[in-house]
């Protein structure tokens, strides 16, 4: 399949050539040449003002099946009986989507000895909790979790499944989508419903956050997406929770496993997990030495936040990899991000630029970090950060 080009409409303005993220379009005189590597992303179609370009319609495909019986599902992510914050965030979003569709919201709770979490899920607005408890679900194993959720989805047939784009969610949700032979969109930051077509509009960043794309799953169910933690507002608790807990025995758990959990090797000692922190104080190369990390920790503690790092600070061994923010680390969007001694390489910016308020402290007034900062303080972090700590302590008496 290739891009459709109507040469009679083309005015050779070159907009599409500029817009192509893959650089495969070029103009030879008045003729547009479509090179190899076009993946039909449609960026050129968007910018063409004379409608000379089109993405081909898919051919000979099965029509969209009937709307399935069940509503919007949220994976209730938990570990050892504690819910991950993303679960209530997604329940809030699921309620909003379900209202437009006129369907119920269900939480899917997988684990061992986790029945007590049902109440929190009902309070967060779930109309139903599908509960599967089994010793093999006590700790996360891709194959087991994937088989369990796949079986549940086959049995009850939801219209939509949402899960957190955590390491856990992103590890096994693709297997569920593949097992159900349906589409999956990773790491979404916005959802909407096209009420006419009953389609879930899934928006996500791509190219390290430089481009946003809206994606649909037009002809299969369930429509599946993982969603970035910390982006959606947690569900406001319902005054009088109502709903039922449906216990399910899964055949998949009776089959002999090919992988098994051995043990936890190391816990990441984050006082607050990065993804859940409202405030992040992050350090970069400007920290100069490992011992200066303490300064950031002190500020983070005062603000009830977590410490993050750039790749440079991690590679230097000052801060553990688990705290790395950016393209090769985590993506975060706290309410307040304080960047200390961080120059602002693109690879770092893509991991934090959706924070609500960004404060940058850097000696170099030309540092790129200032371009994404709401407030930029030009100066020495070793002077400004201690002064800020003093100021906060003074203010609080």
């Amino acid at each position: 399949m290739s891009l459709i080009f109507y040469s009679d409409k083309c005015i050779a303005c070159g907009e599409c050539v500029e817009a192509c993220p893959f650089g495969v379009l070029r103009l030879e005189g008045e003729t547009l040449i479509i090179g190899d590597g076009c993946n039909l992303c449609g960026a050129c179609v968007e910018v063409c003002e004379v409608e000379a370009l089109a993405v081909p319609e898919t051919e000979g495909l099965a029509p969209r099946p009937e709307t399935p019986p069940d509503g919007v599902w949220v994976l209730a992510e938990q570990r050892h009986g504690e819910l991950a914050p993303v679960t209530t965030e997604l329940l809030g979003e699921a309620r909003r989507l379900a209202e437009v569709l006129g369907v119920k919201v269900a939480a899917v709770l997988l684990g061992d000895g986790v029945a007590h979490l049902s109440e929190a899920l009902l309070y967060a607005g779930a109309n139903q909790v599908y509960l599967a408890e089994h010793p093999r679900l006590a700790d996360f194993v891709e194959e087991t979790y994937a088989a369990a959720l796949t079986e549940l989805a086959r049995k009850f047939q939801p219209e939509i499944i949402l899960a957190g784009a955590t390491y856990l969610g992103r590890a096994f949700i693709p297997q569920v989508a593949a097992g159900l032979k349906t589409g999956l969109t990773a790491d979404c930051t916005a959802f909407a419903i096209d009420p006419e077509k009953r389609l879930l509009l899934q928006t996500r960043p791509a190219f390290g956050g430089n481009i946003m794309a809206t994606i649909i799953t037009p002809r299969t169910y369930p429509q599946m997406a993982t969603a970035r933690p910390g982006v959606f507002k947690p569900a406001t608790p319902v005054a009088a929770p109502y709903g039922e807990v449906i216990r399910v025995d899964l055949a998949a758990l009776g089959r002999p496993p090919r992988s098994r959990f051995v043990g936890t090797v190391a816990e990441i000692k984050e006082r607050i997990p990065l993804n859940a922190a409202e405030v992040i104080v992050a350090g970069g190369r400007g920290l100069k030495e490992a011992k200066h990390v303490k300064l950031l920790e002190e500020l983070a503690d005062l603000l009830g936040g977590a410490v993050g790092a750039t790749r440079a600070a991690v590679d230097a061994g000052w801060i553990p990899y688990a705290q790395q923010i950016g393209q090769t680390g985590k993506t975060v969007s706290p309410k307040l991000y304080i960047a200390c001694g961080i120059s602002g390489a693109t690879q770092h910016l893509v991991g934090m630029q959706s924070s609500d308020v960004i404060v940058a402290i850097n000696k170099d007034p030309q540092a790129p970090i200032f371009q994404v900062a709401d407030v930029g303080l030009v100066g020495d972090l070793f002077e400004i950060v201690p002064a800020l700590i003093q100021e906060i302590k003074k203010d609080r008496g």
């Binding site: 190899d36 593949a178 509009l201 994606i215 030009v378």
Partner: protein
């Protein structure tokens, strides 16, 4: 002797892809194509398994004809063979259609004892093709590995990253493993291997070679569809403050208390 397959992807260097927030056109100074950086760790791990236990490493990629460059580079690192999956019909594939195409190639290669993938590609950032490939092949899979240890019984213990820390998971072979960058330090390609790579024949497999129909691959075979591409919302213009540290600190704290939505 294990047969190891490493899946790689050729990607543009991300930071060069940026839409102008006003005109929606692309700011770009010539896009360089590279091997997805995470895939280099997957390749290195494959080579290390081979160095320790023998066997062969085959590198596969799906992409346009020019993706052959990425395969040749992988051969330069020491891979034994490479196959390019390329066909006009593959264009516009989502992660499912990509995984299905790769799965048929793995079948055609006679399967593998170990398949390595990088944790995600830096252009799409989906981290979906690896796990989907494992499901289609019906083999066990472990995500985000930082360490492998082979057991006597032919199983492998994988130490892997999760949100809370690192877990160990034991899995039987064949298996698919996605790796994080902590797992190793990729080697420098040797001059000899590079020279050999230059002359290596790289077969190109299309639709017919893989026993696939046109409606199963590319845009036609995709379950998801991109309906809109747009630049991210621009951030507000920033204020730059200079002055004595104490003044800056006091001013900042006042501002944060007024403005920040965080509980301070």
């Amino acid at each position: 002797m294990p047969h190891i397959i490493v899946c790689i992807k050729q990607v543009p260097e991300t930071q060069e892809v940026r839409l102008d927030p006003v005109t929606h056109t692309l700011k770009r100074e010539g896009i360089a194509a590279i091997i997805n950086p995470f895939d280099l760790y997957a390749l290195e791990e494959g080579l290390r398994v081979k160095d320790a236990r023998g066997g062969t490493v085959t590198v596969i990629t799906m992409g346009p004809p020019q993706a052959e460059v990425a395969l040749r580079e992988a051969l330069g690192f020491g891979a034994d063979a490479a196959v390019l999956l390329s066909d006009r019909a593959f264009a516009g594939a989502d992660t499912w259609a990509t995984a299905l195409t790769l799965a048929r190639a793995v079948d055609k290669l006679g399967g593998a004892d170990l398949i390595f993938c990088g944790k995600q590609a830096i252009d799409g950032d989906t981290a979906q093709v690896g796990p989907m490939l494992a499901t289609i092949l019906d083999i066990p899979y472990v995500a985000w590995a930082r360490k492998l240890a082979f057991n006597d019984g032919g199983a492998v213990t994988v130490e892997r990253l999760l949100d809370h820390g690192y877990d160990a998971v034991e899995t039987s072979l064949p298996a698919l493993i996605t790796v994080v960058k902590e797992i190793n330090e990729p080697r420098v390609p040797s001059f000899k291997a590079k020279l050999k790579a230059k002359k290596a024949a790289i077969p190109v497999w299309g639709l017919a070679d893989l026993n696939l129909a046109a409606h199963e691959v590319g845009l036609n075979g995709s379950f998801t569809q991109v309906v809109k591409v747009f630049p991210p919302p621009a951030r507000g213009t920033s204020e730059i403050w200079t002055g004595a540290p104490e003044e800056l600190a006091a001013r900042l704290w006042r501002r944060l208390k007024e403005q920040s939505k965080a509980q301070l």
